[in-house]
């Protein structure tokens, strides 16, 4: 039979008038799309190989290249789209699971897009953040519900012990992305930006490479099911510890870093033999229940002398609110909820696209549940998965989050164009790859500057939005659903989000 070819996703369009045959595209494409033929003096492209990362477009000195979507299209069909067909063809070829990278790309309702913010008019002055102080300082950690003050020699003293806290200058942190899933240069970029701005980055389950030690004081070290890179020094080096139970892109699924990516550097950082597959089991095999989680939380607290906050990250699933409540009661200082749009370096596409719930609903549900149980203060709540702009940050915080994690947005700042091929290891932008040809393309000096700029830009925007509401400290936004209104949401959705519909007054 004639074997159907892979459906072409992109067309590489070259303006021959502009092409100067400099061959930059030929040299740069890790997918071997472009080639130069000296005989005909032509540069041509094999569009079928193009993943749509747009690297060639960006480096072409004459802007002769444009990458366009979807030329090869099947007959119009409301049910069968190119994607479904393409995946079946792939599977018929290989008999395997279809892999994918980055976050869910299905049109699952974007609640952030259906929420609008308030601003002051007449009865309440808006505040200009360029002229007045505007505070974004955020603390992540468990707080007591009250403090006991005593007066000694006319000086007031606090006698209540305050658990360890992370101090953030903006309510945005870089989410867990391991050295392995991304390059060391990408890790360095984010780590340096976090340190420079006064927020935190996260090792993911990749261990802490020694080149990242200078940034360890602002690092959240992850303990995941594979326990890669975990030893006493690792725990002590970090500012906080995060137990990873699940991830928004692949709830209930483990991880797999193929052996060919386990280079000498990764092997020593993860503490596994070079060239072996790094397999993270789906569950932690010492946590089959909530009381097991409690043991791990306190084992980690013991190991670090109760000096560091210990948090737990879970994927947003149907039962997220009770689970989060259990996690708080198990002693976690912060809870991370990763929504269905959360990214990944590699996941089965069928899981990424179909499992989990949107972060907006999850955060509102968890915050509400913790308040109803009177334990909201006992843990901070970090929202993750699909935060695309500072507007989303503000909305997530108003829905009840203390801070948000960003991953995809940070990678986009480093060049990522969401081609979703992270799992191939051929990232032209030098992010999701360990190939030395490619990793050197990401200069961490530039990367750190760009990631820092993103934090700065978002923070300025958050201040503008706060000022408009007449608020000058982020804590007055946290859980302040009065500042939110839904547009085009039905009653149940509004009820779950805990907000009113636009048009309703206070």
């Amino acid at each position: 039979m004639a074997i159907p070819k892979k459906l072409r996703e992109f067309d590489v369009v070259r303006d021959d008038e502009k092409c100067i045959r400099c061959e930059v595209c030929c040299r740069m494409c890790a997918n071997d799309v472009h080639s130069y033929d000296a005989e005909t003096d032509k540069v041509s492209a094999d569009s079928a190989k193009c993943v749509g990362c747009h690297f060639c477009e960006d480096v072409c000195p004459t802007e002769a290249l444009v990458i366009k979507r979807n030329k090869s299209q099947i007959k119009r069909n409301a049910n069968w789209k190119n994607d479904a067909l393409g995946n079946i063809i792939k599977q018929a070829n290989t008999g395997g699971v279809v892999l994918i990278g980055m976050g869910n790309d299905r049109p699952i309702r974007d609640y952030f897009g259906h929420i609008v913010l308030n601003a002051s008019q007449v009865t309440n002055p808006s505040i200009d953040p360029l002229r007045e102080p505007m505070e974004l300082k955020t603390f992540i950690g468990s707080k007591p519900d009250r403090i006991e003050l005593v007066e000694k020699k006319s000086k007031i003293k606090n006698t209540t012990e305050i658990p360890p806290q992370l101090e953030l200058e903006t309510p945005v942190l870089f989410t867990a992305m391991s050295f392995g899933s991304i390059s060391l240069n990408a890790c360095k970029s984010l780590a340096k930006a976090a340190c420079d701005f006064g927020t935190y980055w996260n090792t993911g389950e990749g261990g802490l490479h020694k080149d990242l030690y200078p940034y360890a004081h602002r690092c959240i070290v992850q303990v995941a099911s594979g326990r890669f890179g975990v030893d006493r020094e690792y725990l002590k080096k970090g500012a906080a510890i995060e137990i990873k139970i699940g991830q928004g892109a692949k709830p209930g699924i483990g991880g797999h870093l193929p052996g060919e990516k386990v280079s000498a550097e990764i092997s020593s950082t993860r503490m596994i033999p070079e060239g072996t597959d790094a397999l993270s089991p789906a569950p932690h095999h010492d946590i089959y229940s909530i009381e097991d989680l409690r043991q791990l939380i306190f084992a980690l607290k013991e190991a670090t002398d109760y000096k560091k906050p210990v948090g737990v990250k879970i994927a947003a699933v149907h039962n997220v609110a009770p689970i989060a409540s259990g996690i708080v009661r198990a002693g976690a200082d912060f809870v991370v909820i990763d929504g269905i749009r959360g990214g990944t370096g590699a996941a089965p596409q069928i899981i990424r696209d179909n499992v989990g719930i949107p972060i907006e609903l999850a955060v509102a549900a968890v915050d509400q549940r913790l308040r109803e149980e009177g334990i909201r203060h006992r843990a901070s709540l970090i929202a993750a998965g699909g935060i695309k702009s500072s507007g989303d940050v503000v909305k997530a915080v108003a829905l009840g989050a203390d801070a948000v994690y960003i991953g995809t947005a940070a990678l986009v700042a480093l060049g990522c164009h969401l081609c979703q091929r992270c799992y191939t290891g051929k990232c032209n932008w030098g992010i999701a790859t360990q190939d030395p040809y490619l990793t050197k393309r990401l200069n961490p000096e530039i990367g750190a500057k760009r990631a820092y700029n993103l934090l700065r830009g978002w923070s300025l925007e958050i201040k503008e939005m706060l000022g408009g509401m007449g608020i000058n400290a982020i804590e007055s936004l946290r859980g302040n659903k009065e500042q939110l209104r839904g547009v085009g949401l039905h009653e149940k959705e509004l009820e779950l989000l805990g907000i009113k519909h636009a048009g309703e007054a206070w």
Binding site: R21, T62, G430, I446
Partner: protein, 162 residues
């Protein structure tokens, strides 16, 4: 980028760990030394295409570019019979005057870095990095997408693009 003639010493530093091997430095070196300074005309127009003053070296994943080091103790200056190769007093750069060049190629023989290119047709020196003395910022530095080629001042401090 203005085309003010610069009058302060400066130096190009190559950071091979960030060189991604795109060779855009060569492309823009050629454009900067072309008559029109227009990339399409320089490559596809009627004017003669200049030769890049940059050498690109690559083996495996390691790559870097090399251009005239403007040595303090420059052997090419010693070797030049006619004074075509000379040192600019203000900037300390080693420059080449084509009008005086007789094409003996002694400079090419003398250069320890091999960064002077011969012109076989005209029997002259074809190209040598002039640190873009006509430009505020050397073309290769300006266009390196990964800041693998950087510019420093006399003290070794980095000069950044505005």
């Amino acid at each position: 980028m203005g085309d003010k003639k610069i009058n302060k010493p400066r130096r190009i530093i190559i950071r091979e760990e960030y060189c991604m091997g795109c060779r855009l430095c060569e492309v823009w070196c050629i454009v900067a030394h072309s008559k029109s300074k227009d990339i399409i005309k320089a490559y596809k127009g009627q004017e003669p295409r200049p030769v890049s003053g940059i050498y690109f070296e690559e083996r495996g994943a390691i790559s870097f570019t090399l251009q005239c080091r403007h040595c303090e103790d420059a052997p090419c200056l010693e070797a030049c019979l006619t004074g075509a190769m000379y040192r600019d007093k203000k900037t300390g750069m080693v420059l080449h005057n084509k009008d005086k060049c007789v094409g003996c190629w002694m400079c090419i023989m003398a250069c320890p870095y091999g960064v002077i290119k011969p012109d076989f047709k005209e029997k002259k020196v074809a190209s040598k990095c002039d640190l873009c003395i006509e430009r505020e910022f050397p073309a290769c530095v300006e266009h390196c997408p990964n800041e693998a080629i950087i510019l420093v001042n006399k003290k070794g401090e980095r000069i950044d693009k505005e």
